[in-house]
């Protein structure tokens, strides 16, 4: 299940961490950010397997069409 933003969530110019603090308060590494996001998604039961998202195509195609039909019917 692809996560969604609330309709009223605003796109302001201030980067946020996942706790909602301004990014300038702390600058976690990319790896830390991934791990924190992963943890939040795991807690909410929102996990995917590589076969779900796997190969959505590379620079030369391969991503559209029948192989992903079921996934997109389910998720769009």
């Amino acid at each position: 299940m692809f996560m969604t933003l609330d309709d009223d969530a605003e796109l302001d110019s201030q980067p946020r961490t996942i706790e909602g603090a301004a990014a300038s308060d702390a600058l976690p590494s990319l790896e830390e950010r991934v791990l924190r996001l992963r943890s939040v998604l795991a807690d909410s039961g929102e996990r995917t397997s590589p076969s779900d998202w796997g190969n959505f195509g590379n620079d030369w195609g391969q991503g559209g069409g029948f192989d992903k039909k079921t996934y997109f019917e389910k998720n769009t």
Partner: protein, 402 residues
């Protein structure tokens, strides 16, 4: 040493004598077999890199049979599914009857336990009803090249006469949708595109096109200048932020770039899967219309290089894949690619999420594989990761605060 393994012995750049042995690099399995049915293309996109696109030659059934036999004989290259992409020229310039024979030739040549999945990436200007019926019957994965609304698309994607192509492509989109044939879109993003994120998003949303991948205009082969440069990185980040924000909010359009990073975060993978294909020998295999084989990226086919024997590691009429693995060109490419990846690992803090970039872009932009950052990776890796993580974090924060 088994046939599918290459032992890399690399010299440390800081020492002329010390040698360092890296982990062995397993070859294959083929995750993408790109076949050039013809180098010819009926249109003349401003950013096209193909050097030979007026050449009307086509691949012969003998070459396809030899390719299938070589792939099958090298069992280490075969997985349960063999994805075949018809590319590097406009595939639909050849008639459906050609592909009926070609598909059958490949099917007969490849081990019966392997399922072949065909993909066609097309400019969609020649998709007749006969073609649509064939795509439906064979369940071909279809990718359309469509750069967004007409005012963006027609700047670059024009006929040889200079006439625009957008209307023809949209006619094909309508007919595909009427028949319920699924397709994805690759949109080339130029300096013009990034000034219009909402028009870009609205176009795909309004035309019910939910799958979009974005290829940033690149410097490659005969396309020596790109409108995208280090000066467009910040604007591209703002463009992606807006697209990803809207995608996460209304889900009308899903972008390969956001989906890849989301998948990486939500699973235990270190990087989007497609990133790792490009650094493994024969993870991606390209076969041109006369049977020449290259690896790592189809853009390397047709490129010139003394050091790497024009990036060609063999020909299916002459060489087995095991022999190709041991050629001077393959060894030199692997050696230098690994050096470049090693440098990325030492120098770039995106490495764990990227894996070392795309070798072809390093060659075309920096002149050799043994380098690190490119304009391509600034846009297509770093900026994508930055924007996707930022928007995913916002979405989580918004939900937590709801």
């Amino acid at each position: 040493m088994s046939a599918n393994v290459v032992q890399l012995r690399l010299r440390e750049s800081t020492s002329s004598t010390a040698a360092k042995t890296f982990e062995t690099a397993p070859a294959g399995p083929i995750e993408l077999l790109i076949i050039q049915a013809t180098p010819f293309c009926n249109i003349n996109c401003r950013y096209c890199y193909l050097p030979d696109r007026s050449n009307k030659a086509r691949i012969s059934m003998e070459t396809l049979a030899a390719l299938a036999r070589r792939v099958s004989d090298a069992g280490f290259l075969l997985a349960e599914t063999l994805p075949v992409s018809w590319h590097a020229g406009e595939p639909t310039c050849l008639p459906v009857s050609f592909y009926e024979r070609a598909f059958e030739t490949l099917r007969c040549g490849v081990d019966a336990r392997t399922r072949i999945r065909h993909t066609i990436q097309t400019n969609a200007t020649l998709l007749s009803d006969v073609w649509l019926a064939f795509i439906e019957r064979e369940e071909i994965n279809l990718g359309l090249s469509l750069d967004g609304p007409a005012f963006l698309h027609d700047r670059s994607r024009v006929r040889r006469s200079g006439e625009p192509t957008h209307a023809r492509v949209m006619s094909a989109v309508s007919r595909l949708q009427e028949r319920g044939i699924p397709f994805g879109v690759i949109a080339v993003v130029t300096r013009e595109t990034i000034g219009h994120p909402d028009a870009f998003y609205d176009f795909f949303a309004e035309h019910a096109i939910p799958r979009v991948a974005m290829n940033v205009e690149e410097v490659e082969l005969h396309h020596a200048f790109s409108s995208m440069s280090t000066s467009t990185v910040d604007a591209y980040r703002a463009f992606l932020n807006r697209l990803f924000y809207r995608s996460l909010r209304d889900r009308s359009v899903q972008f390969r770039e956001l989906t890849g990073v989301h998948g990486m975060v939500a699973s235990d993978s270190n990087m989007p899967h497609r990133f790792s294909q490009l650094m493994r020998p024969f993870g991606v295999v390209s076969c041109d219309h006369i049977g020449n084989i290259s690896s790592f990226s189809p853009e390397l086919l047709g490129a010139k290089s003394d050091r790497y024997d024009d990036f060609t590691v063999g020909n299916v009429h002459r060489d087995s894949f095991s022999e190709m693995l041991q050629t001077r060109a393959m060894q030199a490419m692997l050696n230098d690619i690994q050096r470049g990846v090693d440098r990325c690992q030492r120098e770039c803090h995106y490495f764990k999420l990227c894996g070392g970039g795309t070798p072809a872009n390093k060659v075309f932009e920096n002149g050799c594989f043994d380098t690190t950052e490119t304009v391509y990776c600034r846009h297509s890796r770093m900026t994508v990761i930055d924007a996707a993580l930022e928007q995913l974090e916002r979405s989580v924060a918004a939900r937590a605060g709801a």
